[in-house]
């Protein structure tokens, strides 16, 4: 083969590989829309399930997932951002910080079912929260922390050093410098990481299995100590536990869940793009 032929072959192969990567995503989305769009209706989105969940809508599950996502954000955000600030701005390189970093890396590698069992043991039983939105939010919050911490730390580190130097040279304290110069510039990156972490949490089944998710509650939760339905678990239930479940409803539920997480990812991407374009250093 001539050099030109090798070159052409290589670029064709590489392009094909790249295409292969997003083919599954497209196929999943298109197939879900094709199969599930028929189930989507105003009633489907706003009514509780009826008749052994084979009819009616999935409103309690949608709402439960949104509530859990918010709860997760409330748990995860303060701890993650504080940890990221500590690691990026205060921590030196010593045994303590190395241990913390190792713990974070390991936290990211733990299977989600282990988080679920941990949540069951720690929050549901030991802390006595019962299966509740609180226990579920705490569990999901801990699960999302590694990704939020590392993206937040990266965002903080990417703020140019000179902003800190100038701020300090003007007589600002270290904390004032972090608060007034570092965090505002790092915020978009932190938000992006947060949303990505949350979109993963919104789609997880295992961590909520024992901590919050209800098989079937037609009413809405009224306090953080209530159980709630949630989309991923509801999907699991109607796909495996309910005989005679119309396929259409299963695909519809999956489509709604996908749309929620996809929307979050798109928002995160939009935030990042908008900020990149505006930034001028």
């Amino acid at each position: 083969m001539s050099r030109q032929q090798t070159q052409r072959l290589a670029s064709v192969l590489i392009t094909l590989t790249a295409v292969l990567v997003f083919v599954p995503v497209i196929v999943v989305i298109v197939y879900l829309i094709w199969q599930g769009i028929g189930a989507i209706s105003w009633e489907f989105l706003t009514q509780p399930p009826r008749n052994g969940m084979t009819e009616g809508g999935i409103m309690p599950a949608i709402l439960g997932t949104l509530v859990l996502t918010m709860g997760t954000a409330l748990v995860s955000m303060p701890f993650s951002i504080a940890t990221a600030i500590y690691l990026a701005e205060y921590a030196g390189d010593n045994r303590l910080t190395r241990t913390i970093r190792m713990a974070i890396v390991n936290l990211a590698g733990i299977p989600s079912i282990v988080y679920g069992l941990f949540g069951l043991g720690a929050f549901v039983l030991a802390a006595g929260f019962g299966t509740s939105i609180l226990a579920g939010s705490l569990t999901l919050g801990i699960m999302t922390m590694p990704v939020v911490i590392s993206t937040a730390e990266e965002a903080i580190n990417s703020v140019p050093q000179q902003f800190r130097t100038v701020s300090l040279s003007l007589g600002a304290s270290k904390w004032q410098t972090i608060w007034h110069q570092v965090l505002p510039h790092a915020l978009p990156g932190i938000i992006t990481g947060m949303i990505l972490g949350l979109s993963r949490a919104a789609g997880e089944t295992a961590p909520i299995l024992f901590t919050v998710a209800a098989f079937y509650i037609p009413t809405l939760p009224t306090s953080i100590f209530d159980q709630t339905m949630a989309l991923p678990y509801h999907l699991y239930v109607i796909a495996t536990q309910v005989p005679g479940m119309p396929l259409r409803v299963q695909y519809g539920t999956a489509l709604v869940l996908l749309l929620i997480t996809l929307t979050m990812t798109l928002i995160a991407t939009a935030v990042r793009t908008a900020v990149r374009r505006r930034r001028d250093w």
Binding site: S169, L170, D280
Partner: protein, 251 residues
């Protein structure tokens, strides 16, 4: 003429490496002191020792005394944050915050709670006037500081520094990124500022030191070779090394 800063037996280390060796000099109040010398001779390091900006680098160590109005800035009871308010700094590259012109100048006073509301507006205007930038930006205070040209940006950085009412202004090669016209403007500005502030400037530009300073210190390999009035350094240097450097035979 009073001594604003007195440095005695000062040594400075980056880890094992000794960057400054046995420095002794006095910086006169409301005068311009220029520090010259080849790259890596320690003049910028010395500048950053005066407001303890080197503290932010791990593994550095200072020995000896830097007296500001008779008080050692390395004493344990010195508040570094307050010290840096008293000794302002202008950097090599113009480095405004990516915010509005107004916000850049207002940042320091806000942080230090020096002024707010109409008082802050006045302070911002005064600082910009003192930095001879006001007439160029008065109608665009809300514009991004990044929209200014480099010379204007550097004068904005000077305005930002003087807004917190420092006593000493350190300038680390403030004109190295500027064209000759902008450089001259900054030099004229330094003259104006020297009526109210003590100025220490590090420069690579021999003509600039000769033109714009009252006193000149020549650094070589971490030592202060010669320190005297600028006219003497450039007219009749005592040390052979100084003469070799300023005439361009060593550098």
């Amino acid at each position: 003429m009073q001594n604003k800063i007195e440095v005695s037996d000062f040594n400075f280390f980056y880890g094992e490496f000794q960057a400054l060796i046995d420095l002794n000099l006095s910086i006169r109040e409301k005068q311009i002191t220029a520090l010259i010398g080849p790259s890596g001779c320690g003049k910028s390091t010395f500048l950053r020792c005066l407001n303890r900006m080197n503290d932010t680098i791990d593994g550095t160590r200072a020995e000896g005394r830097v007296l500001l109005d008779g008080k050692n800035v390395y004493d344990p009871d010195v508040d570094v944050v307050e010290l840096r308010q008293r000794i302002g700094m202008v950097f090599q590259r113009p480095n405004p915050f990516p915010q509005s012109i107004y916000e850049n100048v207002a940042y320091g006073p806000r942080i230090l709670s020096l002024a707010k509301g109409a008082k802050l507006d006045q302070l911002v205007q005064k600082s910009l006037e003192d930095a001879v930038l006001w007439n160029e930006v008065r109608h665009r205070l809300k514009d991004s500081a990044m929209s200014l040209n480099p010379g204007q940006q550097q004068r904005l950085c000077i305005a930002r520094a003087i807004a917190v009412a420092p006593e000493v202004i350190l300038m680390d090669e403030p004109c190295s990124a500027l064209d000759p016209v902008a450089t001259l403007k900054v030099e004229e500005l330094m003259r104006e500022l020297a009526q109210d502030y003590t100025i220490v400037i590090v420069t690579h530009n021999m003509q600039q030191a000769a033109r714009a300073s009252d006193w000149t210190g020549f650094f070589w390999l971490g030592r202060l070779v010669e320190f005297a009035e600028t006219a003497n350094i450039f007219g009749s240097p005592k040390e052979e090394l100084t003469e070799a450097y300023i005439t361009g035979r060593r550098g």
